[in-house]
Structures are given as structure tokens and as C-alpha cells.
Amino acid sequence: MPELSYREAVRDAMSRAMREDEDVFIMGEDIAEMGGSMAVTQGMLAEFGPERVRNTPISEMAIVGAGIGAAMQGMRPIVEIMYEDFTTLAMEQIVNQAAKHRYMSGGQLKVPLTIRTQGGAGWSPGAQHAQQLEAWFCHVPGLKVVFAATPTDARGLLWSSIYDDNCVLFFEHRTLYGLKESVPDELEPIPLGSARVHRKGDDVTVVATGRMVHESLAAAKDAEAEGISVEVVDPRTLQPLDEKTLVDSVKKTNRCVVAHEAVTRMGFSAEVAAVIQHQAFDWLDAPIERVGSRFTPIPFAPVMENFVVPHAGDVLEAIKRTVARNGG
């Protein structure tokens, strides 16, 4: 079993697809010679050539729009938006065009476009290079949203995203690129819409995405030392959401914490909490807790950034609140 880092896993999925399928190609800023600002596409220019590994100007609308056009003609382009903060520049094409062509045409067209992007705070990138915006896209019918937290998941899910016939936003987390893991020899596609239980437990379910999956696992360990048994579940695909796995877990544990790095207010956790509250109402022994960034742009100074962004400690505190007793 080879060991792959998260970025290598992403590269592997794209490369395998491009080797098998002429219709797959990639484009984005600085992805060719430089190999991408996050070094994800390193080596791909050499293997596939400049026609299929295309540097673009700084033109997010055109990058995404061209991807849409090529996808509508039956190709499977993967476009890279360097920072998810810049998806804002291409919002019109993503939301008004890619998400809606199939619907507006009454089913005549499909847009099998994959938009890869990354984000994440923790290294003082400043407010415009650190956002987590996945929730916005979950709110647009016609888009699919994936957020992998491990190399194995990234590889299997990116493959499925490329071969999904819809526009998929594939989110990567910057701080996870170096994370290494043993992966199966052969790429095993992971279907979109399936959650993964990382850790089984009985007292509380922690639903986490991205970096917070790992923070939650750390918090779960600490909680165990205090006698609290924590189950950690990663939805992996945010849209469509594997509601059943999440709800079944909460029905077992009777308590829930939802954790993501994105701002808590109006974040993805709000939807998860609503779904769980609705389907597992009579199983809840405590209010659903949410962990996320505080309601501020991401500050620059490390001490402030640290304060705003959530960590394992916040998850642990939330866990404890769900099992608290009088005076607790």
C-alpha cells in the first residue's frame, strides 16, 4: 500500500483520469510549469503536455466559463481556482450558468465540470485568502459540493467528482495537503453522498468537515480520558448530504456537535443541525452544539487568528456541554 500525501492523492486522481480519458483536462492559474500554487499539479505538465495542462490568465470568470463550455460539449474539464476566496469572482458563471444549464434546457444539457479550490486559515494569510465558503454552494440547486479530509477520501472522491455529470465544487484544505496516509494500490472511487464514521462512540456524535475532522478526533481522545465516548463522522459530501448516517448516529448517541472551520453563523452546521433536529427530535438529550469560526473576517495577527478559528479545545468544550449536568 503506497503512502500518499493529500496533495499527491489529488494529483493521482486527476492523473489517472487523464491517462484513461482524453476528454479530461485541467486548467487554472499557475498550474503548468509551476505545478500549482499548492504544488498539486506538479509533474502533470511533463506527463500530459500544455494542451491538457493549461495555464490561464487571471480570469476566474473565463476559467470557469470556458470549463462550462467545454463540459457542455462532452469533455470533463477540471478547473482550479487558486483560493476559494476567488470563487467570488466566478460566482455568476458557477451559480447562474453551470448550476442551471441542465435545468433551464429541460434536461438537454449537462455540465460535467469539476471546480477544485482550496482554503483554510492558520498561517496568517489574511482575510481574503483564508475563507471557508462551502456553505454558499450548498445553497444552489444544481451544484454538488465535496470536502475531503484525508488522502484516501480526496482521491476516491475526486475521481467520482470528475465522472459525475454535474458541476462539482471540490474543496481542499490547505493545512491538510501534507497529511500522509496509506492508500489502497488501486484507486477506489468513493460515491458522492456517503459519510464516513472515523471513530465509533456512544455518548455524543461529532459531525465534522475538513480540518475539523482531525481536530475532532483529537478532542475525542481527550474526551475519552474523561469518560465520554465520542463518535466522529465526516459527511465528506456536503451536497448531496448523507442524512441517514448522521441521523442514525445521533439516534444512537442522543447528542450532537457539528464542527467546521467556516464561520458558525449560517454555516453548513446550521443545515446539519436542522436536519438532525427534525429527524431525531425525540432522541436528543441535549441541544445540538455548533463549533466554527467566530463572526469576524480572519485577522492577520496570529494571536487573533487563533482566537477566531476553532480548534480541538473548542470541540472538546462543546462535547462537554452536551453531557453537562447541573452546575456544569
Partner: protein
């Protein structure tokens, strides 16, 4: 052109009668551009249109029945009731969609042309847009990238000198829109958009240029809108008498008729045929099937 003209007039009439939901933008006065360019396109070519899309759809062969049915929101419509006037699609005939967002369809045409180039297909992507769209970001990014990658695309600017209600003087910093193309280093050409034959010839050349791999072309067609921006537009922004004068001097159908050798009988017969076609399309549409409410849940995802 007659078909388009009478179709659009019928549409106006039906809209005023309260039969058509939503809002409509008719292309009366701009028929020659649509017909000239669309007739010059070949099978396999694709195009994206604007909110003023009936003309292009009809010119490229979408049957008036399907078009009218779409305006009436019926399942038999070319978009099966899901799109409406501003989201007309006919993928079989290369119509990749009218777009309600100004400039929204341009980047996808760059993308389609890119696909043709990567696959080595002799196909061209055509984008229709107005003078107003030359201001928006997608226009600049799409043309910029198209030229950079030398993709087989033709960008047709229908300069009717108004962006909705805003006259050119208030929204364009330049008067010669071919200058837009210069900024991208793109080959450009222009034509009198009210002369259907001229448009046809110019379009042929532009398509050939793109198809041969020489790169994209910016085709500027000077035209006039002989009606308001949308059906019911009081046009308070238009100088008194302008529309009337244009109707008298710049009607492409009148001009075409003057140029070709056609007798009054032949013309009248043609007109009758067209009117029948148009009336039949209304009947077809009215007799069409309303979608079921739950049909709204289909086609969200492939």
C-alpha cells in the same frame, strides 16, 4: 426574416393579451443579423444567445411551434417549459441557450471552441451579444482567453445603440466598438446589420476564419431596435420620433425586399404562409401540455 418578424409581432400581441407569463424581449428590427449569421453557420456549429433570443432560435431552425410552446410554458416547448423566453435551448441545432445574464454565455462559447480545438473538430462557437455587453467582465475575459488560445469562435456584437434604456453615449466610452477587439489583438470585422445579404457574406468569412484555426473573430453588426427593450416598454428614454424614423428607413425586411427580385404576389404568398405558420404555432402552444407541478423537481441534477 418574415417568419421572425411575424413571430415576434404575434408574441407581442399574445403577451399584451395576457397569455404569456414572465417578460419578453423581441428582436423586431434585428432580424437580418440573426438570419445572416445563423444561415452562414454549419451543422455542428454551436451558439449562445442573449435575452433577445427568439430570432436566433428561429433563424437556426427551431420550429416556431416549439418556440411558441416554450413561451407558453408547455412541455412541448424547446426547453420543455423549464426555461422560457430567455432560456431557449435547442441543443440538437447547436443552440446552447439564451442567457438572461448580460454576457453570461460568452465564456462558455470560448470553452466550447476550446473543446472543438482540443478534439480537432471543424466546428465553430458563435456568441451573440449587444453593445451593452461589451462593458461586462465576462465579455473581456471570454474574448481575452479566446484570443490567447486561438479558439474557433465568432463573437457577434449586435450594436443597436442601446443597453436597455441607456443610449450608447451614456454607457460606451468609445464609439467604434471594433476597438474592443483591438484590445485583445483579435481579428475584427463590421457590417451593416440591416442588410441581410451583407451580414451573411460577412458571417461566412468570419466563420471561415475561425474554423481554419486562424483564431476568433469579433463581428460588429450595426443594427436598430425598432421596438422597446421589452414588450410594453414605454421607451421614455428614446428621443421622440427616433423609432418612427428608423422604422421608415432601417427596416431590414423592407430593405431586403427592395433588393431581391420578388413579385408582390410571391411576397404576399410568403407572408400568408408565414402568418399561417405563426398562427398555427399559437394553436399548437395553447393546445400543449402543462407540466405537472412536481416536474419542477426533475432535471436539477444529471
Amino acid at each position: 426574416m418574415l417568419l421572425i418578424r411575424h413571430f415576434e409581432e404575434k408574441v407581442e400581441e399574445r403577451f399584451r393579451a395576457g397569455e404569456l407569463p414572465g417578460f419578453l424581449h423581441v428582436a423586431i428590427g434585428q432580424e437580418a443579423v440573426a438570419v445572416g449569421v445563423c444561415q452562414a453557420m454549419e451543422d455542428g456549429d454551436v451558439f449562445a444567445s442573449t435575452h433577445r433570443a427568439h430570432a436566433h432560435a428561429l433563424a437556426r431552425g427551431t420550429h416556431p411551434n416549439e418556440l411558441m410552446a416554450e413561451l407558453y410554458g408547455k412541455l412541448e416547448g424547446c426547453s420543455h417549459g423549464y426555461g422560457g423566453s430567455m432560456h431557449l435551448y435547442d441543443v440538437e441545432r447547436g443552440n446552447l441557450g439564451a442567457n438572461a445574464v448580460v454576457g453570461g454565455g460568452l465564456p462558455a462559447i470560448t470553452g466550447a471552441a476550446l473543446a472543438f480545438k482540443l478534439r480537432g473538430e471543424p466546428r465553430v462557437g458563435v456568441a451573440f451579444f449587444g453593445d451593452g455587453a461589451t462593458n461586462i467582465g465576462t465579455f473581456h475575459e471570454a474574448l481575452n482567453l479566446a484570443q490567447l488560445w486561438k479558439v474557433p469562435a465568432v463573437f457577434v456584437c449586435e450594436n443597436n445603440h442601446y443597453a436597455e434604456s441607456t443610449p450608447a453615449s451614456q454607457q460606451l466610452p468609445i464609439t467604434d466598438l471594433e476597438q474592443r477587439a483591438v484590445a485583445f489583438g483579435m481579428h475584427s470585422t463590421h457590417v451593416d446589420g440591416q442588410d441581410v445579404e451583407a451580414v451573411y457574406r460577412t458571417a461566412q468569412r468570419a466563420l471561415e476564419h475561425a474554423r481554419s484555426g486562424k483564431g476568433p473573430v469579433f463581428l460588429l453588426a450595426e443594427t436598430y431596435r425598432l421596438v422597446g427593450h421589452y414588450v410594453g416598454d414605454p421607451q421614455v428614454y428614446r428621443p421622440k420620433g427616433e423609432q418612427q424614423e428608423l422604422r421608415e428607413t432601417q427596416d431590414p425586411i423592407v430593405k431586403a425586399r427592395a433588393r431581391i427580385d420578388i413579385s408582390t404576389e410571391e411576397y404576399d404568398a410568403l407572408e400568408r404562409e408565414v402568418l399561417e405558420l405563426v398562427d398555427a404555432s399559437v394553436d399548437f402552444a395553447k393546445a400543449g401540455t402543462d407540466p405537472k407541478p412536481e416536474d419542477a423537481l426533475k432535471n436539477v441534477y444529471a
